[in-house]
């Protein structure tokens, strides 16, 4: 029999299956989506940074690195990132150690602090601290100055110190989470071996435990750094009044009329270069030296009896809770129910601010609706694309599948505002008028958060042995049936986790939205920012709390849905 007849028989063998099968269409679609979402906008950004009137030019980059304004912004970004990284270690490591390795009481309180800090919108913390520590009207500042008569104790939030203060609550959880898992994965036997050889507790900590967990801690600090320098919201809210420009706020300013696309593109690429360098260091160097995965199951970490030292440590945790959660949320709740924010705010409380943002003001109502739609759609798209890309990477031998996986991780290195600049550059050149619509925001969100979807799906798929899918195929099921009957149900908990991982940042997205919104496509975070800019302090607080309420509800719902009929069973076997 000749090869040609082999192919003919191969086709015959699967009656009803056309040559172009569903799996080819779907995987092809996922690839095209990645190219449109990420590759083409990035290429436009590159092109925009070097395309002059009629020839290629380096003038944008020359201006970006020679003008003092931009150099200062670059320096500020680095200083901010550096301090935030250090402070994230200073806060995250003791908390992690306390939870993973000591008999500290109220560990769940520490865990709760870290999770709440992690999901809190960063711009919300910034606004709350402005309400407390703005030089003139800040509640605590007024109290110190006017009531206690100690103006020396006042703190001006509009400063680099203030910017670091409002950023760290969002970033220390990165260090905390990585350090907790690293410390929890160090088996007691490793430390006991050192101790039986004569090493004291301190020596064991420095020569065994420290080196084992250091890569994870540094890794967390780098992620904290990358996240800190990309946060447009806090940098605009706290930095701009102090004339403290950073790269994101400089890029934002370049879009004031007349917009300077070329320079904005060049600055964006510089910001990307810093982020990518940090992430490369983290992934290529530190992640490989992370020993966490070496330990198998039955890890039994050594717990240290703190004795009376647990009270100071618990005190430290309480201070973190106070600064990261209690003060900002307390301030927001107080502001949101006051008629006019000030020392006497408690004298006439009201719910009018909530009524205003939820019912009366059409802009905020539209913003809430838009953000809900965007967050649901982008989370679903990111989870779906993530599942397909993860599947292509793990289950096929398609050439270029590694590249696909790599491209899907690229947005990790793209600050939101850079993503916005890239999308603007690309879609302004396209015949489709997307700029100013919800669609471009959806593209921005999906592209920004696709790495979260891919990684969630990837780890879910890794836990599903390929033989589970292969069994379905050999029993006669087509690719589509196998996906619906086997793959999707088995990775559903992972996909739900990915979905919520995208939903939470998407419902509070500001960095990209701030350049992409129009009055029709305004989003929640943009509405908060605009109201704040225009001095509506009290409705801003109400709207910010609405935002938090939505996040809380979504997490609760996902938790309920994620643990379905067989949620527990899947983990038990696969």
């Amino acid at each position: 029999m000749t090869p040609a007849t082999a192919r003919a028989e191969a086709r015959e063998g699967s009656p009803g299956a056309p040559r172009l099968r569903l799996e080819h269409v779907v995987t092809g679609g996922a690839t095209v989506a990645l190219v449109v979402l990420i590759v083409l906008p990035l290429l436009s950004l590159l092109w925009g940074s070097i395309a002059g009137e009629d020839a290629l030019t380096a003038s944008y980059f020359v201006r970006a690195v020679s003008n003092r304004l931009y150099l200062q912004a670059l320096l500020n970004s680095l200083v901010l990132g550096g301090w935030v990284g250090l402070l994230s270690i200073a806060i995250g490591v003791p908390l992690a150690w306390a939870v993973a390795r000591t008999n500290l009481p109220a560990k769940s309180f520490v865990r709760l602090t870290a999770s709440l800090a992690y999901i809190s919108p960063p711009f919300l913390i910034a606004i709350a601290y402005v309400n407390l520590f703005s030089p003139n009207a800040g509640l605590i500042n007024s109290f110190l100055r006017d009531v206690l008569g100690t103006p020396a104790l006042t703190f001006n939030v509009f400063s680099m110190a203030g910017l670091v203060l409002v950023t760290v609550p969002h970033t220390f959880p990165f260090v905390y989470l990585l350090a907790v898992s690293a410390l929890g994965a160090v088996d007691a036997s490793l430390e006991e071996s050192a101790q039986i050889l004569g090493a004291g507790k301190l020596r064991t900590a420095f020569s065994i435990t420290g080196p084992l967990v250091a890569p994870s801690i540094l890794s967390g600090a780098l992620v904290a750094f990358v996240n800190a320098i990309a946060l447009f919201g806090s940098q605009a809210i706290v930095g701009l009044p102090a004339r403290l420009f950073t790269l994101p706020t400089r890029i934002y300013a370049l879009f004031d009329f007349p917009p300077q696309y070329g320079l904005a593109s060049a600055l964006s690429l510089i910001l990307v270069a810093i982020t990518v360098a940090a992430l490369y260091l983290q992934r290529a160097y530190l992640a490989r030296r992370s020993y966490v995965t070496l330990a198998g199951k039955g890890v039994r970490p050594q717990l240290i009896d703190l004795g009376r030292w647990r009270w100071p440590l618990l005190g430290f945790c309480a201070v973190v809770f106070l600064v990261a959660i209690l003060l900002p949320y307390g301030a927001l709740v107080a502001v949101s129910v006051s008629k006019s924010w000030g020392l006497a705010f408690w004298q006439n409380l009201t719910l009018a601010n909530f009524r205003f943002v939820l019912l009366e003001y059409d802009v905020t109502r539209r913003a809430i609706f838009n953000s809900l739609v965007l967050a649901v759609l982008s989370a679903s798209l990111a989870a779906l694309l993530g599942a397909l890309i993860g599947w292509i990477d793990l289950r096929t031998r398609l050439p270029g599948r590694r590249f696909l996986d790599y491209v899907s991780l690229v947005p990790l290195g793209l600050p939101g505002i850079v993503m916005a600049v890239a999308l603007i550059q690309f879609w302004l050149k396209m015949p489709v008028p997307l700029y100013g619509t919800l669609a471009i925001l959806l593209l921005a969100y999906t592209a920004r958060y696709i790495p979260l979807g891919v990684r969630a799906a990837n780890s879910a798929l890794r836990q599903v042995d390929p033989s589970l899918e292969e069994s379905a195929r050999i029993l006669g099921a087509s690719w589509g049936t196998t996906w619906l009957e086997v793959t999707l149900p088995l990775i559903r908990p992972g996909l739900m986790a990915g979905w919520i991982l995208v939903f939470v940042p998407a419902i509070q997205e500001l960095s990209a939205s701030i350049l992409l919104f129009s009055s029709n496509s305004i989003t929640l975070a943009v509405a908060v920012y605009n109201l704040y800019e225009n001095g509506y302090i009290e409705p801003v607080a109400a709207l910010a709390l609405v935002n938090v309420a939505i996040i809380g509800t979504a997490i609760w719902l996902a938790h309920r849905l994620g643990a379905g009929r067989d949620g527990g069973r899947v983990g038990a076997i696969a």
Binding site: M1, P3, A4, T5, A6, R7, E9, A10, R11, G13, S14, P15, A17, D465, S467, L468, E470, S471, A472, R473, I474, L475, G476, A477, S478, T481, E485, V486, P489, L490, D566, R569, V570, A572, I573, A574
Partner: protein, 370 residues
């Protein structure tokens, strides 16, 4: 009917170190309704062969035919779902989100069988594998052996032409493994399905198979009945893999056609020689420990050689000895349990030359079929 003909099949994995799992030029005829085992150490290509037969892999060259219908060739393969085969995986691959019934009925639903008939067939097959009454359980509520049966039932219920089994017993404990072995064999006889079975356990292969294909480094070493591959190994790799064996370098003293006298240390044995062997050629001898007798020295037995006990261990059902011959040659010997010789005592050994195989030195990588 559903015999499988594999011709000059090769498969290589790009970028894989040391050609782990690659397959070179495999030709194999698997007769209809037989229990055929692919046997070899891990990485020998046996699982690759199975996955090629299943249609999960596309061969680099060669072909696979079932009933003269071409299923696999480098230019294209009939996908797994259109081959009417069944496969039982090492980890069972029982779907954890489906009940026993849902697992087993899956293939029937895909084949669009009526609900009534499907239910009947599922019941019948669950009865066959002794799982009746467990239809509503989820896999995590079953023991390893029961999950194994679910996987078997799921594959058998669609009445495949061929059942492929990839080390299905390796995750079971020793007792259960033995019982499932008997059940598998009985099942194959009752269902009249061709079984292609992959294992690295030679005992399992000997006990179950009608034929065994021994693979090593991606090449077929021998294909024959269990008796043939055990007693008449084609080369030293097969001899080594099929159980305990003493491999001795030897020299041919005189060759007469296909037999001759060989010398290994003080031993002189009349054995059958590989084709083309002449006087003074070097050969390797494979002598199984159970084919050596150990006795108190009396100096009379023909072909016996004096030896000294170097190590011994009592294994309950037999006694195992390491003895040293003159010139330092060391042999492993299995004797009845009651044979009791202290360490360092003088003994004499006698070798059943009928059972000794001789191979040309270093011939293991030549494919050889009988």
């Amino acid at each position: 009917m559903a015999g499988i003909r594999i011709e000059r099949l090769s498969k290589r994995y790009r970028g894989v170190h040391d050609d782990e799992g690659a397959l070179t030029d495999l030709s194999l005829d698997i007769p209809d309704n037989e229990f055929v085992t692919l046997l070899g150490p891990s990485g020998c290509g046996k699982t690759t062969t199975l996955r090629l037969i299943a249609g999960y892999l596309v061969p680099d060259s060669g072909s696979i035919r079932v009933r003269d219908r071409l299923l696999s060739a480098p230019e294209g393969v009939v996908p797994p779902e259109a081959r009417n085969m069944g496969m039982v995986f090492q980890n069972y691959a029982v779907w954890p989100h489906k009940t026993v019934f849902e697992n087993v009925v899956f293939g029937l639903r895909v084949r669009k069988l009526g609900a009534h008939e499907a239910r009947e067939r599922v019941e019948r097959i669950l009865d066959l594998v002794h799982l009746s009454g467990l239809e509503g359980r989820f896999p995590n509520e079953l023991s390893g052996g029961q999950q194994q049966r679910v996987a078997l039932a799921r594959s058998l219920v669609v009445e495949p032409d061929t059942l492929l089994l990839d080390e299905p017993l390796s995750n079971l404990d020793a007792k259960l493994r033995e019982r499932m072995r008997l059940e598998l064999k009985a099942l194959q006889r009752r269902t009249h399905i061709t079984f292609v079975y992959v294992t690295h356990d030679q005992g399992e292969a000997l006990a179950l198979s009608d034929r065994i294909a021994v693979l090593h480094k991606g090449r077929l070493q021998q294909y024959g009945t269990p008796r043939e591959v055990y007693a008449r190994p084609a080369n030293r790799v097969v001899a080594d893999f099929m159980g305990l064996v003493n491999l001795l370098p030897a020299t041919v003293l005189e060759a007469h056609g296909d037999t001759g006298v060989v010398a290994a240390g003080p031993l002189r044995l009349r054995v059958s020689l590989p084709q083309g062997t002449g006087t003074r050629d070097r050969v390797d001898l494979a002598i199984r420990p159970e084919n050596i007798r150990i006795n108190a020295p009396d100096g009379t037995a023909e072909g016996a050689a004096p030896a000294r006990v170097a190590e011994r261990s009592y294994l309950g059902n037999l006694s195992e000895y390491y003895v040293t011959l003159e010139g330092g040659l060391r042999l492993r010997v299995q004797a009845p349990a009651h044979a009791d010789f202290p360490i360092d005592s003088a003994v004499q050994i006698a070798i059943d030359a009928e059972q000794v195989s001789a191979f040309p030195t270093g011939a293991e990588l030549e494919p050889s079929t009988e």
